[in-house]
């Protein structure tokens, strides 16, 4: 709107002025600006990611023709099929064709089972999403109270144990942790199933039984990481926040200062981390689903790579990388929503 020349007739149509005013108000709201700018920045990244994915996968050795035709197919047959699939077109045209289909939700069909890839995704995505949501809920549910307890007495026993446990936890590769959990809870104690999956719709209780170990496996390193960061930020706020002195001068108790004042100001770096990890942990589902035999997209990816089922692999890689990008975008927006200073157009500081 700012580019409207000064000479242009204003308010010619009654509603035009109103629309212009409304647009300007929304555009002037700092929150809308943050969201808008970040969303725009995301678009080229999304396109780039899809292009890289496409490049990587069309270059894979198992081409569609190899997979579809018998081994003794003649060069002519291969050629005909490639023509039919559009593989003889220029590379960029192939990419644009593919992109057009993807935008319409058409990911093609599995080369192995001939099942539409969108169906496969529809079956498997909910499993992976449940896994990740549970893992993050678990990690934060434990990290927040532990960080607060540690920050209550920096250098105290809880705090020191925290630091040691944190280092151990961060060094525990996820599949080592997962297998140790299986060994303890499924093999030795026999309280939880070692493998398998029960859909949420079938039985909530049995679904959760099967999900506890996998989500705990993902949650533990996150928990260690968040506790560490959050504790450090809370201690920092307690030491340097002038508003903490104000709260003390009111006679507010130390625990309340910690939870209501310092914690609220210390949460933002951790939230940023959650957004970043949301992406990296998606890679982790591949391993965890394999260990626990969960039918999520990670498992489908491993199978797809094994059987050179390009259509499935390409769709999953695209979904995974898009999730990373979108997760980062959503985190930024969430922080803008939660932090009144950004919400009203001031930066930290």
């Amino acid at each position: 709107m700012a580019s409207v020349p000064a000479t242009s007739p204003r308010g010619g149509v009654p509603w035009a002025a109103a629309v212009r005013r409304a647009t300007r108000r929304v555009a002037a709201s700092p929150l809308a600006r943050v969201v808008g700018r970040r969303t725009l920045q995301t678009v080229p990244v999304l396109l780039g990611v899809s292009f890289i994915t496409f490049c990587l996968l069309t270059l894979l050795p198992g081409t569609a023709a190899n997979a579809l035709l018998p081994e003794n197919a003649t060069a002519q047959q291969v050629h005909a099929l490639e023509h039919q699939l559009g593989l003889d077109k220029p590379f960029v045209v192939q990419y644009l064709d593919w992109l057009r289909d993807v935008i319409h939700g058409d990911f093609g069909a599995s080369l192995g089972s001939q099942q539409p890839v969108s169906d496969i995704l529809g079956q498997r995505l909910p499993v992976s999403i449940e896994l990740i949501v549970l893992a993050f809920a678990l990690s934060l549910a434990f990290a927040v109270p532990v960080a607060l307890l540690g920050a209550r007495r920096p250098g105290g026993i809880v705090d020191r144990l925290n630091v040691v446990a944190g280092m151990v936890g961060l060094s525990m590769p996820m599949f080592v942790l997962g297998l140790v959990l299986v060994l303890v809870f499924a093999v030795d104690l026999r309280v939880l199933p070692a493998q398998g999956f029960v859909p949420l719709g079938e039985s909530l209780w049995r679904n959760l039984q099967h999900m506890v170990l996998p989500s705990a496996t993902i949650a533990f390193p996150l928990f260690c990481h968040y506790t560490r960061v959050l504790r450090a930020d809370i201690v920092d706020q307690m030491n340097s926040g002038e508003y903490v002195v104000t709260a003390r001068s009111k006679g507010v108790g130390p625990w309340r200062i910690l939870t209501r004042h310092a914690f609220r100001n210390a949460i933002f770096p951790t939230l940023t981390l959650v957004g970043l990890n949301l992406g990296t942990m998606i890679g982790a589902t591949v391993i965890v689903e394999q260990i626990f035999g969960l039918p999520g997209i990670g498992q489908a990816l491993v199978t797809g790579i094994d059987t050179q089922d390009i259509e499935v692999v390409i769709a999953i890689v695209l979904i995974l990388s898009l999730t990373v990008v979108v997760a980062n975008l959503l985190t930024d927006i969430l922080i803008a929503l939660l932090d009144p200073r950004i919400r009203h157009g001031r930066s930290h500081g």
């Binding site: 990611v49 894979l60 280092m167 093999v187 591949v286």
Partner: protein, 292 residues
Amino acid sequence: MADQIAIVQAPPAASRGVGRSWSSRLRALELWIPGVVLVAIILACVVWPWLGTLPDPVNGHLDQPYRPLGTAGHVLGTDTLGNDNLSKLVYGGRLSLEVGFGAVAIGMVLGSLLGMIGAYKGGWVDSIVSRVLDMFLAFPALVLAMIIANYLGPSALNVTLAISLYSLPAFARLARTSTQRLREQPFIVAAKLAGTRDWRIIVRHVVPNIVPELLTFALLSVSTAIIIEASLSYLGLGVPPPAPTWGGMISMGQQNIYSFKALLLLPCGALFLTVLALNLLGDALRSRWSSV
């Protein structure tokens, strides 16, 4: 008054005075314990196979499977195929270290070169470099490594290359920020004004200043690279059998989890110890660098 309060709220001074010798001794231990453990692991994995005292990690005696720990000739027992567990651990460890250090070395050299050039040149070179890196960072590391390793075909070299591609963007980013900070420094500006060639400034002035930071980060990256290597082998997408790998051993251990726990716990323990030593050492070095 404000400045005085700032003094007052500096961290407790207990680290000096009486407590000084204690805390500095503790800090020395933080560095030395993981350092010694790491050197021990590296020596064991690299030197032991040369000594020729270990049994062959492959082609074991099929008639001697599932030997328990402490068996004569097989201190750590044998696996389902009768191969010596200790020997497999050592050879698998050598592979993990080779891949881990190799991948990070490649990623570090190429990545920091890209980052330095981008930051040093600035302008459109920098924009393109950082946009492309952003896109690579959007791919989950493991997924990227899986696909590339699969595309290149399974071998130790290809797994190394695949993992190096994962570590490259992070190094590029680190080198870029450090170089940007340096670029405005008087000695670089002076060198430029004196007509020194760009590559010479990079080699003589930029590289020496960012190497400590890069090496510390590299140590932490090696642990991630080792985990990715093990993950790939566990999924059957890494260095193919019969070559012994920790990930492969863990996979075999999982299949025998009800009957022979040592088969699972031995490689898990080795992997954990190595990664922990690398992380602790990297952490200690980092805090040492940042406090100097």
